[in-house]
């Protein structure tokens, strides 16, 4: 069964790709069937695990064996990976089905479905790995699929650029992950999770020497692994690819850039909790980066106009939550938020896809508005997603997000308070931008000039049904699973898959604190209604007066421009310099060309002696003779 979960999507991908000769419909059916089957099986595995604690580690075959470096292809099922299995296959199944409707008119549908399945396979390979090398395989594999899917509409230049950007920024992250793995192998002699985790306590005090800096080994490993996580999970400084990745078809954004791939970084940190727990510094760095990302992305999301980009920044921001949750040691809550987030964020993305579908591929929310009667189902489903995202009481986001903030607060440390306050403030921003999106898209005046209101239409059932499933998840997943993940049963459930160095503190923060966030979030609804719908002049005036701030946010803190300036341009210049000045003007000039020039020069001189005149030869002979005699005398 475990094998089937992993390999069915791969099989689907291959059959889907080569089955295009049998028609698009065949491809769709095959890929959907295999992924759904995998989804059902993973739910069974998850259920079995929870009920009976029946987990295992299966070796498929040996991959690499070089001296002491051994890595297997493997399937490790434990609580952590079984949750990921459910999230990945479930969302993937729904996205597959949704894509049948969304990509209906695309000529390359089999290719699309095949990539989606291939992605699912890579992601599963990532989560079920029992060693770092297979993790790396999955890690780069999902990066590849993300590259292929972002660039799916290959005729668009912007899509190609976004795809390359995604891959290369991810590669920068992968660089960190790889270095982390190298360090782990060097100092632990193995890359198998269990073996590494067992050894960690023994070498917590080891220092390594880098350029005569003494660095704690565990901290160094953690920081490098975290760079990997930052790349994949689009954390601040390595986040730039995620908004651009919205060039890909919307189902891709829902699956890869919301629910699954981008959470791989969080997964990595949680998986490696036995290492991270021993590095206070690394955890603090994670908290700070997570906090900055949360607030940065939320602030940028406030002013964006592209519906998908708003949601993308929102994803970025929510990932920030997960990271600072892990950073303050709440790995289980981070996973819980990952779990609930998968539902409501996929719902929002697919919902926005439905809106875009209705507006015939227009994504600008300034061209929307007032269509909630035209698109009642989409409107309702998006409403559910928004409520869940903002943490409206008793929906899924409420349980997970508030748990993070409370946990951070109850840490009673500087870094914990930092995280808690950022969490609260970001929750407020989240509510504002989410409602801005809702109001501008569905309410107010109809603003589209190219399309009449009547032409907008509700999406077909094949798209709405997956949305409905996700909506159920967005509403209930928090309530149903809270005991299991973070409540009374959590210790039994997680077993050894998450490691806590210190006993978790279950003390509850004061009541006013518990109520503070929900009140803030709910009160954001009328506020946003007021500024975005009923009295828009206030907003216009505000932006008019704070042009600088507005542009700063609109241009995403100018980070892309800064990167262009400090990385892209200098690298190109360096390449050109090395090529023209280095290779051609130095090495070639003084090397081969220089030598041949000198040879030519000398031989030209030598030629002059062979003039045919006796006195030339006599002269040379004379010189030679005198040299010889001098030599003999001196000896």
């Amino acid at each position: 069964m475990e094998y089937a979960v992993l390999f069915l999507p791969l099989l689907g991908s291959i059959i889907g790709y080569f089955g295009k000769r049998l028609g698009n419909f065949f491809s769709e059916l095959a890929t959907c069937f295999f992924v759904c089957a995998s989804g059902i099986l993973s739910i069974i595995i998850f259920y079995n695990g929870v009920k009976t604690g029946n987990y295992g580690n299966y070796k498929i075959f040996e991959w690499v064996n070089s001296g002491s470096f051994v890595a297997n292809w493997s399937i490790k099922i434990d609580p952590l990976s079984s949750i990921m299995l459910v999230v990945v296959t479930l969302v993937s199944s729904l996205v597959h089905i949704y894509s049948i409707g969304y990509m209906k008119h695309d000529p390359h549908k089999p290719r699309f479905m095949s990539y989606l399945s291939l992605f699912t396979f890579s992601m599963l390979a990532l989560v079920v790995s029992d060693n770092f090398l297979q993790l790396f395989f999955g890690w780069e594999g999902v990066g590849l699929c993300s590259y292929l899917l972002i660039g799916f509409w290959y005729k668009r230049n912007s899509a190609n650029n976004a795809a390359i950007k995604a891959f290369i920024v991810n590669r920068v992250g992968d660089f960190g992950l790889a270095v982390g793995i190298f360090l782990i192998f060097y100092h632990f002699g193995t890359i198998n999770y269990d073996e590494v985790f067992q050894l960690v306590p023994q070498i917590t005090n080891k220092e390594i020497n880098f350029l005569s800096f003494e660095i704690n080994l565990i901290t160094a490993i953690c920081l490098f692994l975290f760079i990997g996580a930052m790349g994949k999970s689009a954390q601040f400084l390595l986040h730039t690819w995620l908004p651009d990745a919205m060039e890909g078809p919307t189902p891709v954004s829902a699956l890869i850039h919301a629910a699954t791939m981008v959470t791989a970084g969080v997964f990595l940190i949680v998986r490696c909790s036995p290492i991270f727990e021993y590095s206070e510094i690394a955890l603090n760095v994670i908290t700070i980066v997570g906090g900055i990302t949360a607030i940065f992305a939320a602030s940028v999301a406030l002013v964006q106009n592209d519906i998908k980009r708003i949601i993308a920044y929102s994803t970025c921001s929510q990932l920030g939550y997960m990271f600072f949750a892990a950073g303050v040691g709440a790995y289980h809550i981070a996973m819980f938020h990952l779990f609930t987030h998968a539902f409501f964020k996929a719902l929002l993305f697919l919902g926005s896809g439905s809106v875009i579908h209705a507006f015939k591929d227009d994504q600008d929310i300034r061209n929307m508005g007032g269509v909630w009667r035209q698109l009642p189902y989409t409107w309702f489903l998006m409403l559910v997603g928004t409520l869940a995202l903002t943490g409206f009481p008793f929906l899924s986001g409420f349980y997970s997000k508030d748990a993070i903030i409370e946990f951070a607060y109850s840490k009673h440390s500087l870094i914990g308070n930092f995280a808690a306050y950022i969490g609260i403030f970001t929750a407020f921003l989240t509510a504002i931008y989410s409602w801005r999106l809702m109001f501008k898209t569905f309410h107010g005046k109809y603003m589209n000039k190219n399309l009449s209101l009547k032409e907008t239409h509700e999406s077909p059932l094949v798209m709405l049904i997956p949305l409905a499933f996700l909506a159920l998840g967005a509403i209930f997943s928090g309530y149903i699973f809270k005991d299991l993940f973070i409540g009374s049963e959590n210790k039994n459930f997680w077993e050894s898959s998450i490691f806590f160095l210190q006993e978790i503190n279950y003390e509850h923060p004061p009541l006013w604190f518990l109520l503070f966030t929900p009140i803030l979030v709910v009160s954001a609804i009328p506020i946003s209604y007021y500024i975005f719908i009923s009295n828009r002049k206030i907003l216009d005036k505000f932006t008019e007066n704070n042009k600088l701030l507005y542009n700063f946010l609109l241009n995403k803190w100018y980070i892309d421009q800064i990167y262009e300036f400090i990385f892209v341009i200098p690298i190109k210049k360096m390449g050109l310099f090395f090529w023209k000045k280095g290779d051609e003007n130095t090495i070639d000039r003084f090397g081969p060309n220089g030598i041949s020039k000198i040879v030519k020069l000398i031989s030209n001189k030598a030629v002059q002696f062979q003039s045919g005149y006796i006195y030339d030869y006599a002269f040379v002979m004379l010189i030679g003779l005198s040299l010889l005699i001098t030599f003999l005398i001196l000896n």
Partner: protein, 498 residues
């Protein structure tokens, strides 16, 4: 083993070449020349696979040793292979028929002579990888220059003469020094038999200078920075098959030389010069990756990327760790497959449009989807995607490097990011994007022959990416031996020094 299987493998292609030489020069014969050479090279491949099946993986030392007196008392014609050289022999035997098939589409003039050159080259290359005598090795090593020189000089592009001479000048300069070194070794030890020399051990005080002499030859072949500039020119001007052989096999002679000769004969010097090698390799990786990024010519880009990839190889070899050496050998085999595949792919486009300029293309995927798929697979393999052979080699090497030096490891890992940048940017500009040129619209997708050879390479690249065991297992014992001997030699010399 009585049947001289190694000599047969070496001289079978030569026999085929002689046979073709006897043909008359006309169109009809050109076709049969292709068949004959294809048949010979395929037969040779089968013979090699047969050799592989006979090969004892647990045996340490050289197998299938053949020994004959050549110049009595002075030079022996001694052949033999171990787990390292057999892989290179198989690679050579695999690439040769692929080159011959690629000629069918791309070489239009003097087909017969071209095939002869390739077959003779095959003989020399296999000879290099199987000789156990320094003189024999030198002869094969240098003789390989001549057919390659002709391939570039006769069938090359417009600047072929300049490139051919540049190629010749560089390689000859290095090899002259190697010859002097070989003669010195003969004076020192009284033999040129490699196995004997291993036993006798060259005195410590001579090692450094001799190492440098061998290094000058291998570094050029590799090529290492800063003696790499012949490679881009040679590649650009060489015909497709020439580029393929050059990248896939000739470059590997340098790496093989380091393994077999530098480390084996001069352990003290090898240890001494590690910083030099590390420095040059890291510069090669970063410098040439950056240069590759800015290239306008596809072949030049791939050539520069080869230099970067070979930088990893030298790094790995001189870590003297199991992973580093395994990785280097694996990387060489992998690069042999991938660079061959990339040059063939460029050749496919060049045959159709006669342009290698990146700017000329764009939007190719709209008209030749099959080709584009294969090209993307190769590009991904070249940038080291896990699941292809390109990944494992680099990963193992870097693991080895990290054991030795963090800084070098970090710098070398940056190359992985740059590789992604130049390969993907290349793919984007050639395969995707807008159609810039009317000629693109008339492109025909790959035909059966091209499809066959490219798919063969795709299969190898992916299968060995997921299941490298056949290769790693073959070289396992030999690499362990190499390291053992190296350590023993070092200890011996250390003791002798005291």
């Amino acid at each position: 083993m009585n049947f001289p299987i190694l000599s047969s493998i070496i001289f079978l292609p030569l026999l085929g070449a002689i046979f073709i030489f006897l043909f008359k020069d006309d169109k009809e014969n050109n076709k049969s020349a292709v068949y004959v050479s294809l048949f010979t090279s395929l037969a040779n491949l089968i013979l090699c696979l047969f050799l592989w099946s006979l090969f004892d993986r647990d045996f340490s030392g050289f197998q299938f040793v053949e020994e004959k007196n050549w110049i009595s008392g002075l030079i022996k014609f001694k052949l033999g292979i171990d787990g390292i050289s057999i892989l290179f022999i198989i690679l050579t035997a695999l690439i040769a028929p692929i080159c011959i098939i690629s000629c069918i589409n791309s070489v239009k003039e003097r087909v017969k002579e071209f095939l002869i050159a390739i077959l003779i080259l095959e003989t020399f290359m296999i000879g290099v990888f199987s000789s156990l005598d320094l003189v024999i090795f030198y002869l094969f090593f240098e003789a390989g220059l001549i057919p390659m020189f002709l391939i570039i000089g006769v069938w090359g592009g417009p600047r072929r003469v300049y490139s051919a001479f540049k190629f010749f000048l560089y390689t000859l300069l290095g090899s002259v020094l190697m010859l002097v070194a070989i003669i010195t070794i003969y004076w020192l030890t009284g033999t040129t038999d490699l196995v004997e020399i291993y036993k006798i051990r060259i005195p410590k005080e001579y090692q450094h200078i001799l190492w440098l002499a061998f290094f000058s030859s291998f570094a050029v072949k590799m090529p290492m920075w800063p003696v790499h500039t012949w490679l881009p020119d040679a590649h650009v001007e060489a015909p497709t098959a020439g580029s393929v052989i050059l990248a896939a096999i000739l470059l590997k002679m340098g790496g093989y030389g380091f393994l077999r000769f530098s480390i084996g004969m001069f352990p003290v010097a090898s240890e001494y010069f590690v910083p030099l090698i590390y420095f040059l390799s890291v510069v090669a990786i970063i410098y040439t990756s950056l240069v590759a990024l800015m290239q306008e010519d596809m072949k030049k880009l791939i050539a520069y990327s080869s230099v970067a990839h070979m930088g990893y190889v030298t790094l790995g070899i001189f870590t003297f760790t199991k992973q580093g050496l395994d990785g280097s050998i694996y990387q060489m085999i992998s690069h042999g497959l991938i660079s061959a595949a990339l040059f063939l792919s460029v050749g496919v486009l060049y045959d159709r449009t006669h342009s290698r300029l990146i700017n000329f293309y764009g939007g190719v995927v709209n008209y030749i989807p099959k080709y584009s798929l294969i090209f993307i697979i190769f590009a991904l393999a070249a940038l080291g995607l896990p699941g292809t052979t390109g990944f494992l080699g680099e990963f193992l090497i870097l693991i080895g490097v990290f054991k030795k030096n963090y800084l070098i490891g970090l710098l070398a890992t940056i190359g992985v990011v740059l590789a992604a940048a130049y390969m993907l940017w290349l793919s984007k500009r050639v395969i995707f994007g807008d159609v810039k040129n009317q000629e693109i619209k008339a492109l025909k997708d790959i035909n059966f022959l091209e499809g066959t050879i490219l798919s063969v390479l795709v299969i190898f690249i992916i299968v060995f990416g997921f299941y490298p065991d056949p290769l790693l297992d073959t070289m396992n014992v030999s690499v362990n031996d190499l390291l053992d001997n190296y350590q023993k030699d070092l200890i011996h010399h250390l003791k002798a020094g005291k």
